[in-house]
Symmetry: C2
Subunit: 236 residues, 2 copies
Amino acid sequence: MTSARPRPAVVLVSGGLDSATILAIARAEGFEPYAISFDYGQRHRFELEAANRVCQSLGVKRHIVVPLDLRAFGGSALTADIDVPKDRSDEQLATGIPITYVPARNTIFLSVALGWAEVLGASDLFIGVNAVDYSGYPDCRPEFIAAFRQLARLATKTGVEGTPWHVHAPLITLSKADIIRRGLSLGVDYGLTHSCYDPDPQGRSCGHCDSCQLRLRGFAEAGLTDPALYVTSAAS
Amino acid sequence: MTSARPRPAVVLVSGGLDSATILAIARAEGFEPYAISFDYGQRHRFELEAANRVCQSLGVKRHIVVPLDLRAFGGSALTADIDVPKDRSDEQLATGIPITYVPARNTIFLSVALGWAEVLGASDLFIGVNAVDYSGYPDCRPEFIAAFRQLARLATKTGVEGTPWHVHAPLITLSKADIIRRGLSLGVDYGLTHSCYDPDPQGRSCGHCDSCQLRLRGFAEAGLTDPALYVTSAAS
């Protein structure tokens, strides 16, 4: 690969705050981003609409939405008919694995991204996982990322032929406030993003689920107001 | 898990010879099999029809077919409009990674199986990979399986909570002839299976692609005749 073409990278874009930030980071680091989103039977469509807005706003070489219906096996409040928990305390947010955990989600998403990357001749993947405000998800930790990189090396033609894989998780040790500051410095419009697990029919965020709480706390810590629309006064 | 219920295991069933054999092995080892197949934009439907026949014949607790359209990124003769190679020599079969390689396929399939297993409370996965007649696929090697097991441990709630994951690849060191002998001893009807990459419109196998060649060679080495239907006299 001696061409002057920028290096391609596959970026996992959910439409949330974190993934918008990593897309901006991938661009700032000189990569040509190929964005991938999943239609995995989310409870609502606002996430995918936000993913489209974010990709258009920040600019990507291509954006694909892969249909992958995880409702076939259920088991999570994000895909099955289970209530999303609300107004959990800081202690609850910081401990345990909540019901919104989708089994093996990041493993599945990174695996599909890996396949696409290999077809594109890319050896860089970007994922917006975060181990600080990670709500207890096991597949958001640095050791998970390291294990996936090792797997990628062994699983692929590219890896076997000696190309090292890079799994970029630039947010992994940042607080939500730091992520927001970083994104704003790179021109991210967080008003385009969607984080809420349980929005109203108009797509306004609930302000009470884990994702809203972590997001609102991040903006507050950064001394900023979240530009997203909320149903209640919880946002203020 | 102190109930008398047999241990559940998720078995990857493609409809081919190898996956039928591992399904029989999982049953013989006392597991309650949950079969998973993928509709990944294969060039033909005969594989999935064979998967259904195999599951019905051997008995499973449940069989799901997960739609996962890998044609979105192309890049393989098995999913894109690229000719399937035919009549390759023994030397060609034994070396290199052929165009029928689907990037990251086994990683993707195992990842989805992992998610379903976690929902089911299973910690055993069965995959029919084979490192002897593996046609050069990197994701059919023992080191790949070991790396996936390590990833599963770190990626899942179950793993974090201390349950060890078992990724069974009981065919990995067997020759095709040994696999066939093993399956026959467990009552597998290989006439129900489909291996060909490029069947005719009636579903008859071509006899010349890598998969047919390896299969025919296996039956010949075992001193048996393949019960599958072939287009040409290559089978005899």
